[in-house]
Symmetry: C2
Subunit: 469 residues, 2 copies
Amino acid sequence: MTVQAVIDSLPGIQWITDPALVRQKSRDFFWYSPVLKRQLNGVTAEAVACPRDEAEVIAILSACVKHQVPLTPRGAGTGNYGQAMPLKGGIVLDLMGLDRVVWTKPGVVRAQAGVKLIDLDAHTRREVRGELRFHPSTKRTASIGGFIAGGSSGIGSCTYGKLREFGNILGLRVITMEAEPRVLELRGTDIDKANHAYGTNGIITEVEMPLAPAWDWVDVLAGFPDTISAARFAEALIASDGIAKKMAGVVAPGVAQTYFKMLQPYVPAGAACSLVMVAEPFLELLKPLLERFGGTELYRCETEKAETPLYEFTWNHTTLQALKVDRSLTYLQTLYPAPNHFALIEKMEKTFGDEVPIHLEFVRLGGVVSCFGLQLVRYTTEERLAEIIDIHEDAGCPVFNPHAFTLEEGGMKRIDSEQLDFKRVADPHGLLNPGKMLAWDDPDWTPDRKRSFYLYGQADAPEVEEVLE
Amino acid sequence: MTVQAVIDSLPGIQWITDPALVRQKSRDFFWYSPVLKRQLNGVTAEAVACPRDEAEVIAILSACVKHQVPLTPRGAGTGNYGQAMPLKGGIVLDLMGLDRVVWTKPGVVRAQAGVKLIDLDAHTRREVRGELRFHPSTKRTASIGGFIAGGSSGIGSCTYGKLREFGNILGLRVITMEAEPRVLELRGTDIDKANHAYGTNGIITEVEMPLAPAWDWVDVLAGFPDTISAARFAEALIASDGIAKKMAGVVAPGVAQTYFKMLQPYVPAGAACSLVMVAEPFLELLKPLLERFGGTELYRCETEKAETPLYEFTWNHTTLQALKVDRSLTYLQTLYPAPNHFALIEKMEKTFGDEVPIHLEFVRLGGVVSCFGLQLVRYTTEERLAEIIDIHEDAGCPVFNPHAFTLEEGGMKRIDSEQLDFKRVADPHGLLNPGKMLAWDDPDWTPDRKRSFYLYGQADAPEVEEVLE
């Protein structure tokens, strides 16, 4: 058996082979999506490799190429789309052992891929009074390498945009999947080759990231008469270049009241909510801004001192909080393109009503204040879900389908020739995270080919109820 | 004589009464404008008071009210519109003696009004690795109080917007002009009462300012085939939220070649130029961005190490550099409103050709990347200058007339009732910087009333050639 041959050839590496543990390390939060749950529930690797340094990573890659064993890299497994799930089995490469900060200077940090975001922020805050410009709502568990390989934006994107924006990643150290793996430093526009590629075309071992000032952040929850008022407030806050802020989320009336347990005591019936993070010196400016949009402050807490920080009620955590209360829910990821975003939000709210409760996150895209939707969806069937997606896209709201596990069908919506070309040189045998880059398996794929197809694995494994919390 | 009575009543105060020195301290850079030069050349105070602390300021204000003597506050006198020129004579209040930093914490500084911007930046950089978010091109001489009372934006506004944006000033300590002066702390929306009011409605003695990260800035001069290519590059840079930058100016072909002595060796004939400041870690991203717009790097220098920093070729310093070569030049201040800014720039460039060489500064206004023009103008007559202004405004480019010394006719273009109301309570006798707030002298003024009128002083004083450098 080839996986066993790899294990046998590398006795110095720490291996996990216990099937239950391996299965656990082969999964992420794909089950937010009933579609992915059906498709990916049976996915598991045969073994997990746990390298402690880059030399071990290189040895593992070399052995996998020699024995032609598929390898799927993984950070903390906090993705939502099966990004790090080994569709073709083989070996999972757990990179959390590469957990060293390499260096820090004012405004910039270089770290190994497995450093947890929360540890990295604590380190840079202490050393140079800096912090990551943005992080996903999974900051307390996710790793920096996993965020870059599998994520795209998050808390702080309201100021700095997405990871893809020029300057939000300064360098990536990438190991190629070859018999003699090469160590590459990607910088400048080359970063796009491996950024958000799910580890399909190289293993990120180190990242160099710019830092933002580490303000004392304060969580503020505000109530509004309706979704649009809350959205207009969030937009105005994000457009205020003078106010240091890190988050501006919005949920429709009913969402906080029903699903945000910790916040329920503060939220009056019928109120839409905005969830923001503002730097302490600018707090006094919130009141006039709230008043302009009919808003009222409901709750305030220093982010660092909160038992559960407010960011764990935003972005994909909104869905998680809702799932804790109602396991039948799922979600969407859309853009409401400016300048018609408010009209589109209202139209969708009217079209779907309580079937698709509105959840917005305001960000900057290419320097323009923009509005993402991470709406909740009361799930019935895959057909209806597809219909909801189509209605959004027909109305002019592109959907970054969170019910697809390939790069192209998710956020990308096109073949990324740069990433494909890089895979050709960095993973010529196609062993890295197989099945995630459609263009590799099916170069003729186009975005009008509907819905994901599943090339490998078994979809009929026994369903396991995920334990929340 | 009433001024003498004030002087006699305050023997502990340091006074300047030598007429030549008083005249010098009664002037600013108003002579950039041939219109203001004609109108204001004879303006002078009778004495200059130089307080060393707030108690002395209060004593001077109280005495001036008692003797009904006009008082005009002044920082370093680096304004361009006669902001701090005593139209009605009386006393000039030189606030440069209030030069203490009150306190500094990460992200925020509080300082007395007379602290020089360059000293304030050095202090906060040393203490908390912070610096002012933006500063005028006169950073090396101007004071923070003068910047707020008489300025509006500058180097750094490409990231943080104008002083008026919520959060760019956190607090102002203001002394009222009453028999018993009150000390007020203006915060939040109240800041608008005294921000950019030319000291007409209170004396700013302390300011509280948010700080930006103190990056190691690098000056980069780039050449382009034409003005619009340079402008598109500057806009793209400013829209890149991932790149830490502080400046993106543009000058048409010929401007750098003819007027920027220090830079002449680097600039090829016929090239338009962009002048930018980028933080060191992001320099490697400039090349691909330049290539996208046909640009070439011509010159690079660490801002701190430059003999003359690149920012002293931007904003109003562009005009100063040009005046050093050609004393017949003057300038405009316009907005090219998005999204038609490029079309408007091209139209104006075509309309005026070499009569109005294009000079642009890209900024953010209300969260939107925007384009100011500080064009050079080959001056002929006041009538033609007025015509040039009219043609711009008729084309949809509002002009913030730098050839007017009143608040309303300059940037404001309307009666600011908030500032007027505040003057009623803070300067009930109308003694502060008289003649600068039109609404006080002429409550019926409307923006369609053409061109400034001069209420006081003598316009026929002997002309003195200003010494440049």
